[in-house]
Structures are given as C-alpha cells and as structure tokens.
C-alpha cells in the first residue's frame, strides 16, 4: 500500500489533533510526536504491513498510541513530575489558533438566528437531549436537524476556509 506525500499531509492535521487530544495543546513536543507517528506509518505502508485497507485508521491510531506512550514513558523516566498534562475537557482548540479564528467564529455566530442559538446552546452547552429540546421548544425532529446541520455547515466552512487559506481568517 502506497501513500504519497500529499496523502500524508492530509493525515497530518488529524494525527496532530489526536496527539494533542492525548498530550495537550501546550505540549512542546506535539510536532515531533506527530512526525514520528507519520514516519512509522509511512514505513509500515512501504513494507506492506497494512493488510486491511478498511482498517487504516485503526492502524494509524495504534501507531499514534504507541508513540504517545513511548513519549510519556520517556518523560516519566527523565523527570519525576512531567510538565505535560492533558488539556482539561472542552479545551481542545489551542488558544493561539482560537485567536486567529475569533472573528470568523463571531461572524458565524452572527449568522445564526436567536432561536437557532438557543437550540444549539441547549444541545451543546446545556447537554440536553434532542427529545428534551423538541419538547421544550415545540420544534419538529426535522426542524431540529435543519438547525443543527445548517449551523454545522457554516462552521465547517469556517474551518475549511482556514485550513485551505491559512492566515485569511482574521481578515475575512
């Protein structure tokens, strides 16, 4: 199984996200861990060690897990109290990244109607179930799906805009 450089670059943000999820965004060695994981993955692919095309994600995930474990073990050995601690829940966007995205997020929020925001807040922040929200708002299931998908579509566009044209987001 062969992976081109382009394929690897497409995998990089995902691997980075997974690694950051495990070791925290403030870990100074994130990029090294990501690079090591991708390198091992590429070598395994070259040596035809990936037999099941459908399990590429699981294979890559296994490599990431191993690299992260080795990194942690190394840190534990070198320092009794490692500085790297996992991010607290819900803090998965790096603050520097967030700073660049702040305007884009604000614009995305402005495009949502008050009702949509209320529904989305209930779903994402107050952690209410879909059924609870439908009962409280009198919305139909279809309406709820439309609200959710419409909002997601906008924020997905913001994310894609940023990844395809990095650095543009603060001026958009």
């Amino acid at each position: 199984m062969n992976f081109s450089g382009e394929d690897l670059e497409r995998l990089r943000p995902k691997v980075r996200f997974k690694v950051c999820y495990d070791v925290g965004f403030f870990c100074p060695d994130v990029d090294d861990i990501v690079q090591e994981a991708l390198m091992r993955f590429m070598l395994a692919a070259r040596e035809d060690k990936i037999h099941n095309q459908a399990a590429v994600g699981a294979f890559l995930n296994g490599i990431c897990r191993n690299v992260v474990s080795e990194y942690r073990r190394r840190n534990m050995r070198d320092e009794p109290m490692p500085e790297v601690v996992p991010e607290p829940p819900g803090k998965s966007i790096a603050e520097s990244e967030l700073f660049e995205l702040r305007d884009a997020i604000a614009q995305g929020m402005e495009q949502l109607s008050e009702r949509d925001r209320r529904v989305l807040r209930a779903f994402y922040l107050e952690e209410k179930s879909k059924d609870e929200i439908l009962k409280q708002t009198g919305m139909t299931d279809e309406n709820f799906r439309v609200v959710l998908c419409r909002a997601k579509e906008r924020f997905r566009a913001i994310y894609l805009e940023r990844t395809q044209h990095p650095g543009n987001s603060r001026h958009s």
Partner: protein
C-alpha cells in the same frame, strides 16, 4: 459504527460532543479515533463542532463573586430587549446559578424595553424568594430614565459605586 455516523447527523453530533468532553469510554474513544483518522468528513465535523461550541460558549454575561455577592456584567454592549439573546442569558445565569445576592452592572446596556424590565423584576423576585436581593449598578441615562418612569427604581436599588453597592448587601466593603 461509520454507517450510523454518516446516516444520522444528530447521533454523530452527540458522539462528537461526548468525545470532546472526554466522556466516551476508552474503547469508544479509540473506535472513534480510528474512524476519523480515516474519514475526512467526520474529522471536519469534529473541528466544526469545536468551533461552534467555542462560539456558543463565549459568555455574554461575565460573572464574578465579591464576598457572597454575585456581580454580573455584560461582556459587550447589550440591549435588554424582547428579541435579545443577552436577556435570556441574564435570566438563565441568575436562575440556574441560584444566586441570591445579585448586583447587575448595566454600564454596557444601552436600551431596555418592557420585556427587559419584566426579566429584571423576575430575577428580583427570584433573589428575594431565596432570601437575597437584586440591585443595579451604573445604569446609563436612557436606561435610568426608563427605570424611573416605570418606578422600578423604587423597587430595585441603583448605585453608581460598586463598593457601596456591595456594602449595601450588609457586608463589609470589598
């Protein structure tokens, strides 16, 4: 797993939210990671959800405690009108947090209508029921005028100085 994700966006969102909040079991988290590492679509959905949650999570009402008094202030310029989101957030903050001694800083509020006044009075009743009080701080002239015309200022005490307002709750000055 992947079939469900791609067939049902609500199910996928519930899953993504649980993952971002680190509430999935280790097995489920691993399955989900294995899935998104191979699925551009689901990975983009995670990132979009993160941004959306960040956007929704930006607090419109800042909340801090001075002794046992909760001081609320709008993060940006706000209008307490029937159609404004700030109003429902203010009401939620007071009722859900079950605060009893509340001081609302109105310095960033430029307009208020009858719904806004109604919400302030509801919050006041809520605080009084909890053996507390609700007072106002730094209301601008237009807002002060409305409060005066409707005689709500005879029920809700208004202050220009935060320390004096805090002290009026029966506590030593902060």
């Amino acid at each position: 797993m992947s079939t469900n994700f791609h067939e049902d966006p609500v199910y996928r969102e519930e899953f993504i939210t649980a993952y971002l909040r680190r509430r999935l079991t280790a097995d489920l988290a691993e399955q989900w990671e294995s899935h998104y590492l191979a699925c551009d679509d689901c990975f983009e959905e995670i990132r979009a959800t993160e941004l959306l949650i960040r956007g929704l999570g930006e607090p419109m009402v800042e909340r801090r405690r001075v002794n046992d008094v909760t001081v609320l202030r709008f993060a940006q310029g706000a209008q307490l009108l029937a159609s404004s989101l700030e109003l429902s957030e203010l009401s939620n903050v007071i009722r859900l947090q079950n605060d009893s001694k509340v001081l609302i800083d109105l310095s960033r509020v430029s307009r208020i209508d009858s719904t806004g006044l109604g919400v302030l009075m509801n919050c006041y009743c809520h605080a009084v029921k909890n053996a507390g009080a609700l007072k106002l701080l730094n209301a601008d002239a237009p807002v002060r005028r409305v409060l005066s015309v409707t005689k709500i200022d005879s029920v809700l005490q208004m202050f220009e100085d935060e320390a004096a307002a805090i002290a009026s709750f029966g506590l030593p000055q902060a």
